[in-house]
């Protein structure tokens, strides 16, 4: 059994989940028995919760991202050989931006169709994969991201801690989240990562954005649509009034692509219940 000196020393480690196994049990046992150390723990815990609850604490100024993006682009661009080439490139860029603004679903979203939403989700994924779609919050912890989204999107979202069993290794990890505007509403964009490959999940509060077609499966009362968009794999479904669109480059057909993330023994029954739907 550890004493108060060791317990006080390890409180920060315990709060930050840096203690494991026997060490964690030791401090938990001490905190149950020692009111003084328990008070110190609760105070530290409250300070940490206050800061995390105030996340992101400092709002990033709107001018910041365009300036950095410009900087990164100029740093990566190859030098032009002469002024004519520079002028031609500038003209092409202006024309490209004008055409892009005219045709982009980002700006014609008011009369959106499910197909446009699918295109929007694919564009968001491609931008994120290119590093041009910065996250508002970077966190591996579902509860932290859930807390950040609370009040920022017009629905309550509680991201699952997956898998629940501590002995199971995660096949994918949460990276963070950001907000994105679609149909004049805030949509939650969640970024995940698996084998260094990004996986995007967009969650909107409209239930009418599902793109029908492709392979369709049913499980647990939900209908999943597997389609392709811009060369990406897309899975869409609705649940309790929300539309989910998951985008990735995982090139497997319907049920098999679910197994990439949900292939553990714990999830196997769910996959076995996944039935083709016509």
């Amino acid at each position: 059994m550890i004493g108060c000196t060791e317990a006080r020393r390890d409180i920060a480690l315990y709060i930050d989940h840096e203690l494991e196994g026997h060490d964690a049990i030791e401090i938990e046992a001490h905190l149950i028995l020692c009111a003084s150390c328990r008070l110190a723990y609760e105070d530290s815990r409250a300070a940490v919760d206050a800061v995390r609850g105030a996340s992101p604490l400092y709002e990033v100024p709107g001018s910041c991202y365009p300036a950095i993006k410009k900087l990164v682009k100029s740093g990566q661009r190859k030098p032009f050989r002469n002024r004519w080439m520079l002028l031609c490139a500038a003209a092409a860029l202006v024309a490209g931006v004008a055409i892009g603004m005219w045709s982009s679903p980002w700006l014609t979203r008011r009369n959106s169709t499910p197909a446009q939403y699918a295109s929007f989700a694919a564009e968001a994924h491609l931008l994120y994969a290119k590093g041009a779609f910065p996250l508002d919050i970077v966190s591996r912890q579902p509860q932290v991201v859930s807390a950040w989204l609370r009040g920022r999107v017009p629905f309550h979202l509680r991201l699952p801690e997956y898998p629940n069993g501590g002995w199971q290794q995660k096949r994918y990890a949460l990276v963070g989240a950001r907000l994105v505007q679609y149909l004049d509403q805030d949509v939650a964009y969640l970024a995940y990562e698996m084998d260094h490959k990004p996986i995007s999940v967009l969650i909107a509060s409209s239930p009418h954005l599902i793109r029908p077609g492709g392979e369709t499966y049913r499980s647990g009362g939900l209908t999943f649509h597997f389609t392709e968009e811009k060369g990406l794999r897309m899975i869409t479904w609705t649940d309790r009034g929300l539309t989910y669109a998951q985008v990735s480059t995982i090139a497997l057909s319907g049920k098999d692509s679910c197994g990439v993330c949900h292939g553990s023994s714990e999830d196997r029954p769910k996959l076995e219940n996944l039935r083709p739907w016509h």
């Binding site: 920060a12 008070l39 105070d43 300070a47 604490l57 919050i137 970077v138």
Partner: protein, 166 residues
């Protein structure tokens, strides 16, 4: 690299204490990162972010040395501010973001940056140790002191009641 910009801005804000200087530091960090001959081990968020935090901290330190600024508390002075034996209090009501921000802003920069790195940006002790160039033990003790000081500041700002064991 761009996907880290919000994290980096918050760290810059914690170092500089105000917006304009933080934006300048952020730009300087990206310039240095783009010009760096050696990048992070892997091009993933987990590797790029601590790498850029290190670049930012070095850039900030160089600027501080260049300007010989004296109004921020620097490494050797921090012990004078630490008072781990002060009376404890519990934070028993939800704090407003502005109150937390004001409390964090009023802390010495060494505490401010470690709170931001760990509690907001969730960098590991090892990553923080590498960014600060100090042992993990120092990270632990500094973090504990920073949290203790923050708790006291928050209690002072919002006059929070204290729970008493029966």
């Amino acid at each position: 690299m761009l996907s880290c910009h919000a994290s980096l801005y918050r760290y810059a804000r914690s170092l500089c204490g105000e917006q304009v200087a933080a934006e300048e530091l952020l730009q300087e960090t990206y310039k240095k990162a783009l010009a760096a001959k050696r990048g992070p081990a892997e091009a993933t968020v987990d590797h790029v972010r601590p790498w850029m935090f290190t670049i930012m901290r070095n850039a900030w330190q160089n600027e501080i040395r260049r300007q010989s600024r004296a109004h921020e508390v620097w490494l050797d002075d921090v012990d004078a501010l630490e008072d781990p034996d002060s009376p404890d209090s519990l934070l028993t009501r939800k704090l407003l973001v502005s109150e937390v921000r004001a409390a964090v802003d009023s802390m010495p920069v060494l505490w401010r940056e470690i709170i931001v790195m760990r509690d907001l940006e969730e960098l590991s002790y090892g990553e923080i140790s590498s960014i600060l160039g100090c042992p993990v033990g120092t990270v632990m003790s500094r973090l504990a002191r920073a949290r203790s000081a923050l708790r006291q500041m928050l209690v002072g700002r919002v006059s929070m009641p204290r729970e008493v064991d029966p």
